[in-house]
Structures are given as C-alpha cells and as structure tokens.
Symmetry: C3
C-alpha cells in the first residue's frame, strides 16, 4: 500500500518490473495474462500492505490450506476488482501494485463467510468486488487532500452494505455465523487464559487478517511476510501479541482471545505504523505501541457498536486508528515520515 | 443541481434570465415576488436535479393531486428554506437556481408524513427547512474541495435529526407510519411479482422521489421531467426499472417493490449519472448502470441499518452512491465529466 | 479555543506570557512545572472555550465542590493529555493555550462517571486522555482545510470508544448510571415545569458542561466565565435559557430539564457563536439563536440515536451544530468572522 497516498494525476509508483519477474512489458495475450496474474498476487499481498507477489502467493496457499472455498473466493474477488480497474482504464501502475485488488480479496471472503454459496451469491460477490474498486478510487481522491491511504476502508464499507442488504433480500441466505443482533451489555470474565491460548491466539491473530481461524494458516502468512519484509513480520507478531495482552488484561473472553479476535486489527496497525509510514526510532516505536493498544480497545468498541445490527467490526478499528495516528503525525515533531523511493 | 459543485467565492452559475421569463432584473415588490416564486418552483424542480420552473410546477401539481397536505407542505418548506437564504444574503444566482429550495421541499413533506400536523409541528417544519439552508451551505463549502455537489444530503441529515428528536419531545406526535424500531433479521421472499407490480412499481418509483405512493403522481413527474430534459426522463424510467429488477431478482418483498421503495433512489442516481455529470458514452452508461444497481443494494442496507432507530433510509442511498461514483470518476480515464456552460 | 483552526505548520497563537503570569520563559524545573500547571489550568478553561487559567481554576473549584473524585479526575486527565502533547513535542504555543488539555479533562470525568474506579480504570483513563491528544492533532490537521476548530470532538469520539469497549472487557465495571440500551420510542409530557425547574435548570445547564448535576457548581462556572469574558458569561446564560425553553415548549421531561440535560450543549454553542467566532451584530445574534435552538433539537436526536447502544450524547450536538454553522458562514454575507489578533 506504499502508494495508497498518491494522487490520481501523479502516481507515486513508477511502472516497475515485478519482483517475481512476471510483468514483462509486452502486448501478447500471454504476457498480458501473466501481468494480470502478478497484479492479482500483489493484490492479495497488499491485504498485509505487501506489494509483493511471493507474499501474496504464500497468503493464498495459507488460505487454501484452511478452506478451498475461501481460496477460490480470494482469487475471484481479487480478479474481479482488478479487472474492473483495468476495464475502467485506471492508471496502470496502481493496478500493477495490487492497489485495486486487496479490497476485492477481503470482500469475497467476508461475503462467502456470511452468505450461503449459490449462483446468486457468487454474482453478488463479483458486484461487491467491482464496487470496492469504485470505493477505492473515491477514497484515494477524498483522502489525497491529506496524503493518507485508503487502507481496507473500501472492504469494510462494501461488506457492511452488502451483508446488511441481505436483511431485505429473500433469495440470499446467511450462514448463521453472523453475530446475532442484540443490545450491548456488560461483560464478565469468561474462561482462563493459558499458554496454549497465547500461542494459538498469536498465530490466529495473523490468520484472522484474512478471516481464517486457523493457526497453521497464520504460519503461512508469517512466512509470506518474512519473504517480503523482516520488519513487517516482526511488527505483525508484536502487534498480535500486544492485542492479545490488552484483551487478556482487560478481561476479554478467552475463546475470543484464542480465536485471534483481538489480534488481527492490531497486526495490521503494527505493520502499517511499524514498517510502512514512519522511520523506526524511539518515538515512532512508542507511538506505534500506543496505536496498537488503542486498536484493541477500538476493536472492542466497534464490535459492541455494531451489535444492534448484528454486524462484525471487520478491519474498521485498524482503519480508524491508523487514519487518526497518520493524520496526527505532522504535529509531532519527533516522528519522521518514511519517504518511499 | 448543475452548480452544486461551485465554490462559495466563485459561483458557477451566472445570473440568468429564467427559462420561464419570471426573473426580470428589477426592484419593485411585484418583480421581487415573481422572482421569489420562480426560485421556489425551480427549487421544487431541483429535487429531481432540474433547475426548471415548469418542471417544478408539474411536480407540485402531481403532489397536490395525491395530497393537499403535502402540496402545501412542499410550498411552505421550499419557501422557508429559500427565504432563509435570501435573508442571509446568499449569492443571488444560487438562490435563483433553486439550490436553497429543494431540501426544504423534501424536509417539509417528510416531517408532515411522520408527524401529526399541529401548529407546533408546522413551526417545527419551518425551523427544519431553515436548517437545511445552513446545512446546504455547510456542505457546499465542505464538498467544494472535491467539486462534488451536496445533493439531498441536507434533507437526509435534517430529517433524521428532527424526527429522531421527537422521541424526547412529548408535544410532537408521530403518525404511526414510521417503521417500528427493531433489530434487523433475515428476510424471506414475500408475495409474487406480476405485470401489475412492475407497471405500478415503475411509476411509484418516480413518485416516491417526493415520498408520494401514487402512480398517477409518477406520471405528472414524468411529464415534468420530459419538459425539462428528455435524457433525464428516460434515465428516470430506466433507473426505476433497474431498481425494481434488482429488488425482484434478489427476492425483496412484493409490496415494497410495488410501492416503489426500491425505485426512487435508483431514479435519482440514474438522472444524476445519466444526464447531469458525464458525457453519455459506452463507459458512462456502464458506469451509471453499476451505480444504479448498487443504489438498490445500498437502499436495502441503509433501511436495515436504520431499523434499530425506527428511521427510514430516505434518499441517503442516492447521496452515498453518487458521491462515491463522482469522487471515483477522475481515476477512470474513459469517463468524461460534463462541463456546464 | 481561539487557535483551534490553525495549521500544524503555522500556529495562530504566538507564544505569550500567561495572563496569570505563570509562564516565564525559562528552563529551571520549577519554571517548567509552573508553566505546565498554567497549561493545565488553561486546558480546563478551554472546556468552555476560555484560554484563561483563572477561569480554569474557578471551574476546577466548582467541580471539587461537587465531587472530590471528579476534581482529581479532571486534574489527572488534563495533565495526562497535556503531558502527552509535551512528550510528542507539539508546537509549544498550542500546549500553552490549553488546546491539548480540555479533551483530556472531559474524558477523565466521563469515564469515571460511567466506570467504577479501580487501578485498571485509572490506567484506562490515562490511556484515553493520551488518545485525545492524538485525536485532537488529527482533527486539527483534518479540519484545517476549512479553518474550523476541533471543539470537543476528540472527547466525544474517545469517550464513546472507551465506554463502548467495556462491553467486551470483563474487568471494567460500569457504575449503573449509563442509559440502558433500548430502542427509541414515543415520548409523553412528564412532570410540570415550575419556577424552581427554571432556576435550577439554568444553573445546572452550565454545570453539566463538565457533567456536574449541581446548581452551585454552575455558579462557580459562571464566575469563572465572568472573569475571562463578560460576553461569554452572558452568552452562556442565554444559551442555557434558550435550551431550556425549547425543551419545555416541545414537551421534554421535567426532570431532564431541571438536570440541565437540554442546557449544556446550548451553553457551549452560545459561547462559541456568540463570543468567539463572529463579530456581534444583528445577523450574528439571529444566526447564533437559531444555532442554539437547533442544538437543543440535535441533543434530543443524538440521545435517541445512541439509545440502542446505551450511550449518552455527551457534547456531540454542540460539535455538530457549531461545525455546520461555521462551515456555512462564508456563504452568508451578513456574517463577519472575528479575527483573533
């Protein structure tokens, strides 16, 4: 997502040869197909802010390991949103970097997680993925005024709309895993956190970035991150750990901690603030830590706020916190923005 | 709404002689009254994005045909919001184009639809209409940075506030047509769509733009549109039809389809994207169609999202979708913006 | 909050000698401590838009008069958010004006009003206060594009998040004074408004700006305002009175009127629009009055809107209305902005 903050008219990413060598300037249909495939893999990688097709491939394998359905969903969603961008003639370098793919990837998983698969549902997924491309462009334009990236906001917005809408559409059926609509009420401490909770929660925190509740999938993701950036990999684990610690300390329910519910937003915040946007120094490390802690609190808040609608928080806490901490950063003279060259 | 995107300091609409010849530069009280009347009629026309006083007159007749109460409400609301703009000395060309009238028109209908008429209620309507003028100016300023229009957002925002507030005000009584507050739940297919559903739904889809559930009123509106712009009239029918088709295909309830509930937002999106903001070509037609389909989905989503508050979606889906599709458009090189001369 | 609209890079407030003489340029630890204390007192003053440490002191005494707990909470919250700003090296003149203190003051009172005090709760308050500093900086950056101030939005946003989050955190317990989550329903007129309702409501309207339901505390606040600005003091009383009148006329419940529930947001709107942002003339007085009336309506609306979450409206009506009325003002040629010199 390195170039998420560029303006429409002056893209920050120069057209590049792919790190995997897949993008070869050329016009034969084979070359175009390879180029498209590379954009799709990078799009999957961008879910964790890595415009790297090897990382994307590892993430994809991790998802297929957990579920064939979600694996195909990710491929379809990323392809649909990327193809929409190609059809609409978006600046090529944006597409190549995968910036028009990652929201489509996530929206496809989320919709097929919440809706029974049917032909209508798959069509609904394609429409939603195409919409993320429009919302992405809209947010790049909107947020360009402050030079902050869109992150996964298009995914959050589109998914909430398309899932909420099914409350009026009798031919789309939910899978029963949606939270039941209800009014928020006081929590009690539930279950006991053990070493196995911590180990499993740490890995599922990574896996839940793609909504996969599977620790092994988390290991695939970690390897993918490691290939792309060692700093991002370390940041991801620290984020997952801090999110887990906050939840534990505050008395969140053990099953939620084990499932990585308090981890995945913190993972994304940690990667973004720890490895993407600031030069790493004492101030930025402290700033990032406060952001990661806050992300866990905002996750609890957003999931309570959406309870009357029976909707999940998705990655809205990550988006909100990173937007706020990036918007605020020019005021803080000890923080230095990373310039992407 | 051609000049909705102009900046406060540099209005896009030059002062013009009215198409109906009503605005004659002059200062006699008779001339001023005629000028004001023309602004009010154009304000009513702007509800469907037509700054044309004949269109406004036809819309007004259509409303009176359905209900005397709503007819007077529209006149009062449009006059109150326009007069507020005059009193506050807004740039004259904005007022003449009806830009400070259409939100007042809608807020007055909506409040008198949901509240029992009483002296207090009529006073409440005048205050609300005056507020739409302030909200309109605020949004023109806010959105001017991206050159996108305010659309009916002032109406949506003001109506939601003023209706929600009655939950604390014991002297204002609701009419019982507000949706009951509840938690969203799964839908089932309800009723069978027949040819009569389609014909009636197509026309009520137009009529519901002013919240009139009456097919004949829809015919008056169509004639008004035809006088102002043939393209807008065709776009309106296509919008109503596509909204209806989406609702039908997805399994929405037959009574809602017949009543035009899934139509009116799509009608507005179709007029805006089909006849106002883009040069019509293959790309813009496809783009507009996706937007119209998405509007029907967002309508379902917004009406579910507002269910715990017992509030209706009003025209919020139209506003959201058109904002997103306009904001996104500079990224898509096949779309060309219409320049209004 | 005179400099709330300044940009990060070009602060509007030149470094000044404090009105209380506490800020002496110097580097001895005693001088630094006195300077910090002055910033904290001004921060408390800024809750009512007075960057005046005497006013802050009077406000603090008024709070201690009502409750030792809230007195200490205000001191801790203001100190924590101000210290965060100092640690992050925010432009010194902003910190000295108290701009990074007032949201911390309010968040600390609100959290300790809603949560049982415990060591964890006090730590939670410190984290929340630190977060208001980040949110404040983010909003200064975001809103700088339109030159409008952040007001108490950081407090509202942070408090809603941190209170909502406790629905997932079993080790933080609410005090039982939170509104019960429920669905909004029609109101009936409740109780009879008497002279004692009016007198008490007028004063508690002021006191509720700091969430203190105590008329004597309101008197302390009035004296503090009087020391800082006679116009602000008069505006505050008029605001409280108009808010009360609107509530009474619309049929709000008598206990809510007596408790000042409809007053405190109107007090803040009146101070902001009556004494801070516009040159006082006929147009701005009328504009301000409409804003104050609207604030009472928006308070009713926001408190109904937040009912399904069981959350209070806090000062969100003040923030929303003042933002809208400031954003709109450049369109209205009879209003003249005050330039702060």
């Amino acid at each position: 997502m390195k170039s998420g903050n560029s303006r429409a008219t002056r893209p920050a990413i120069p057209a590049q040869i792919s790190s995997t060598g897949l993008v070869i300037e050329g016009t034969s249909s084979g070359q175009l197909l390879l180029g498209f495939l590379d954009s799709v893999l990078r799009g999957i990688g961008q879910v964790m802010l890595q415009g790297n097709s090897y990382a994307g491939l590892l993430f994809l394998i991790g998802i297929f390991y957990n579920s064939m359905l979600f694996g195909w969903a990710v491929l379809l969603g990323t392809a649909a949103s990327t193809a929409t961008a190609v059809l609409l003639d978006v600046n090529r370098s944006h597409v190549q970097a995968g910036l028009f793919g990652f929201n489509g990837a996530l929206v496809a998983i989320a919709l097929l997680y919440f809706l029974e698969p049917s032909i209508l549902a798959w069509g609904y997924v394609v429409l939603a993925a195409a919409c993320t491309t429009v919302v992405m462009a809209a947010l790049l334009h909107l947020l360009g005024a402050w030079k902050i990236p869109a992150l996964t906001a298009p995914f959050v917005f589109t998914t909430l709309c398309f899932v909420l809408a099914t409350a009026r559409f009798g031919r789309l059926h939910s899978t029963g895993v949606l939270p039941t609509a209800g009014l928020p009420k006081a929590a009690t401490v539930e279950g006991i956190v053990t070493a196995s909770t911590v180990v499993e929660g740490l890995l599922t925190g990574l896996a839940q970035v793609f909504f996969q509740g599977n620790a092994i999938t988390g290991i695939f993701f970690a390897v993918g991150l490691l290939i792309s950036s060692r700093v991002a990999c370390v940041a991801a684990f620290l984020g997952s750990f801090v999110g887990l610690l906050v939840a534990w300390g505050m008395g969140a329910a053990e099953p939620a901690i084990r499932a990585g519910a308090f981890g995945f937003n913190s993972v994304l915040t940690a990667i973004a603030l720890g490895s993407e946007f600031f030069v790493l120094n004492g101030a930025s490390a402290a700033y990032g830590t406060v952001a990661v802690v806050t992300t866990a609190v905002v996750f609890a808040a957003m999931s309570a706020a959406l309870e009357p609608l029976g909707m999940p928080a998705l990655t809205s806490p990550f988006v909100l916190v990173v937007w706020l901490f990036l918007l605020a950063s020019p005021f803080f003279q000890r923080l230095r923005a990373r310039t992407n060259t």
